[in-house]
């Protein structure tokens, strides 16, 4: 019995001191004015009100949600179709396709963001050079947001693909093959048969992906801001408000932004989970009929 406490103690102590306590201390700071030294002054909800009255907050909240929803909507069908194809007995070389499609997951995120910067740079980029265009892919922020999505999709397909592939092992391969050889129109039918069968796998992946997407930071910043700086609010995410305020020594607003991000994560997680339960009910009725 003593060993039980002893063995779990390192984990619990490290977690409490280095995660739980800082979270709580952030909550305290979010109601204070503190510049990193000197005394912290209680200010009530002023930090939260300041953030919510700040146009950049809403822009970056919108960007965070945009990146999440759009990248997931594009990712799911691509990864799903690829998994169905690779899983099929008609297609050979599964041991080759699987790691190749997974490959982007294995590249350093900062490195691939920098590679995408060289692809889409206006003056010196590969895309403009090859097609003879002069499009401001990264400096026209309306376009840049889509390049961020492209990067997220490119990077994420491997993850979803492997998740779906693992999920499909529980399904009779004949189901997909029958649909696949039937031609293009039946891709939809494949999905309408397989998706209900893989509901739990999907739920897991979608929830994890949604939670992770709320904390998105690296890609938009490395891709659109040079020299390791912060992206402008037009392409930045909510995380930038935490970092930006920390760097400028406004700890209270930084902490308030951190807690708003946490609340957003819970809300989005709950909505996705709830949404799935609802559509799950529909699948269930469909099967009964």
């Amino acid at each position: 019995m003593g060993a039980g406490y002893l063995f779990v103690a390192p984990f619990v102590v490290i977690f409490a001191v280095f995660s739980l306590w800082p979270d709580i201390y952030s909550l305290v700071l979010s109601f204070e004015k503190y510049s990193g030294y000197g005394r912290a002054v209680p200010v009530g909800t002023a930090n939260y009100r300041a953030l919510l009255g700040y146009g950049a907050f809403w822009t970056q909240l919108g960007n965070t949600l945009f990146y999440w929803v759009v990248h997931a909507l594009i990712l799911i069908p691509i990864a799903f179709v690829l998994a169905v194809i690779v899983r099929s007995k008609l297609v050979r070389g599964r041991k080759f396709w699987k790691p190749v499609i997974f490959l982007p997951q294995v590249m350093s995120i900062v490195a691939v963001s920098l590679v995408f910067e060289t692809l889409f740079s206006q003056k010196y980029g590969v895309v403009n050079s090859v097609f003879g265009t002069n499009i401001a892919w990264l400096t026209n922020f309306a376009i840049a947001r889509w390049i961020v999505v492209l990067l997220l999709v490119w990077q994420g397909v491997g993850f979803w693909f492997v998740v779906f592939l693992a999920g499909l092992t529980g399904v009779d391969p004949a189901v997909e093959e029958a649909a696949m050889v039937d031609g293009a129109g039946t891709v939809r039918r494949t999905i309408s048969i397989l998706v209900p069968m893989m509901k739990n796998v999907l739920l897991f992946a979608v929830v994890i992906d949604a939670i992770g997407s709320m904390a998105l930071y690296t890609q938009p910043n490395v891709l659109t801001a040079q020299g390791g700086g912060l992206a402008v609010p037009a392409v930045g995410t909510l995380s930038n408000l935490v970092v930006g305020n920390l760097e400028s020594g406004t700890f209270g607003e930084s902490a308030a932004a951190g807690w708003l991000l946490f609340i957003l994560t819970i809300l989005v997680g709950a909505i996705v989970f709830g949404g799935f339960r609802l559509s799950g009910g529909r699948f269930g009725r469909g099967r009964q009929r």
Binding site: M1, G4, Y5, F7, V8, F11, V12, I14, F15, F18, S19, L20, W21, P22, D23, Y25, S26, L82, I85, V86, L90, V91, K98, P99, V100, I101, F102, P104, V106, M107, I109, V110, A111, L114, V115, E117, T118, K123, V126, S129, V130, F159, V181, G183, A184, F204, I211, G227, G228, S239, V243, L246, F251, S254, A255, G258, L261, F262, T265, I266
Partner: protein
């Protein structure tokens, strides 16, 4: 031939040609996916072999002439140190986190003591908290303890990964208690059971966790950028984007940056090629 027979032959022909079409489409999609997957990696390597000017003038073509000057520039710009920092931080966090999570996982599944379920529930309840939430409080607290710009600020906070504990626990729940009970009957102490019975049994889960942890640590950018950006301790992920040509304003040195990106990708590729299965089961562990 009867009309029925003709119909059957036609049907078979359409079925066969549809099957062929299906295969063509399937392989076509896979080839496109493979090219899209590999191209950025290839571009990274190719452009790392061009001078910085050549990358600007000829971003898409092959290097002519090829040069290794970018790799030399990484040396002179202190990027080897950054690479070593990345390795030190990622490797030591991985070893420590896997050990601590395994120890805790064993305790929470195979040793009976009051409160073990509550401890687990409390830990899992926090899984939705992003690292950003802790950052301001963490910075305020640990700046006064002189932890900013150290290795430990990059390592210690990540030694208790809740998702890792979750993975180990799920795995050990599937291991029969009788194995542990038998060892206890034989008079083995808890530590001995953990080291001799649990660690070997849990190896697949621990390998998957190790690979995932290494990947996460190697990719960490936000935390070290804020907490440890001094060149003596900063990882490669933080220093790479800052490689700019100061004489040309902030024009990035793309050739050198690509060489650094190659350097940043090689360890992940090695881990991936060596532990491919653990790598790919790691990402799907939560649902198996």
């Amino acid at each position: 031939m009867t009309t029925a027979a003709v119909g059957a032959v036609r049907w078979e022909q359409t079925a066969r040609s549809r099957r062929k079409l299906g295969l063509v489409v399937a392989y076509g999609l896979l080839v496109v996916a493979a090219i899209v997957s590999i191209y950025p990696l290839a571009l990274m390597v190719i452009n790392s072999l061009k001078s910085n000017n050549q990358v600007l003038v000829n971003p898409a073509g092959l290097p002519s002439p090829g040069t290794l000057s970018n790799y030399g520039a990484l040396l002179s710009r202190g990027q080897l140190r950054a690479f070593a920092n990345s390795l030190i931080v990622a490797a030591s966090t991985t070893v420590g986190a896997v050990f601590i999570a395994a120890l805790a996982g064993y305790s929470l599944t195979k040793v009976r003591f009051p409160g073990r379920t509550i401890i687990f529930i409390c830990l899992v309840a926090t899984i939705m908290v992003p690292v950003q939430t802790a950052m301001p409080g963490f910075y305020a607290e640990f700046a006064s303890l002189h932890w900013i710009n150290t290795y430990q600020i990059q390592i210690v906070p990540f030694l208790a990964p809740v998702f890792g504990l979750f993975m180990v626990r799920q795995y050990l729940l599937g291991v029969p208690d009788s194995l542990v009970e038998a060892a206890r009957m034989d008079g083995a102490g808890e530590w001995r059971i953990f080291a001799r019975v649990i660690l070997p049994i849990a190896k697949p889960a621990l390998a998957a966790l190790a690979v995932l942890e290494f990947l996460l640590m190697w990719n960490s950018y936000l935390w070290p950028q804020v907490m440890a950006s001094a060149p003596s301790v900063a990882p490669l992920a933080v220093t790479l984007p800052t490689l700019t040509d100061s004489t040309l304003g902030i024009v990035p040195l793309y050739g050198t940056i690509m060489a650094g990106s190659v350097l940043a990708t090689v360890p992940l590729l090695i881990v991936f090629l060596r532990y491919q299965d653990a790598f790919m089961t790691g990402v799907t562990y939560g649902n198996t």
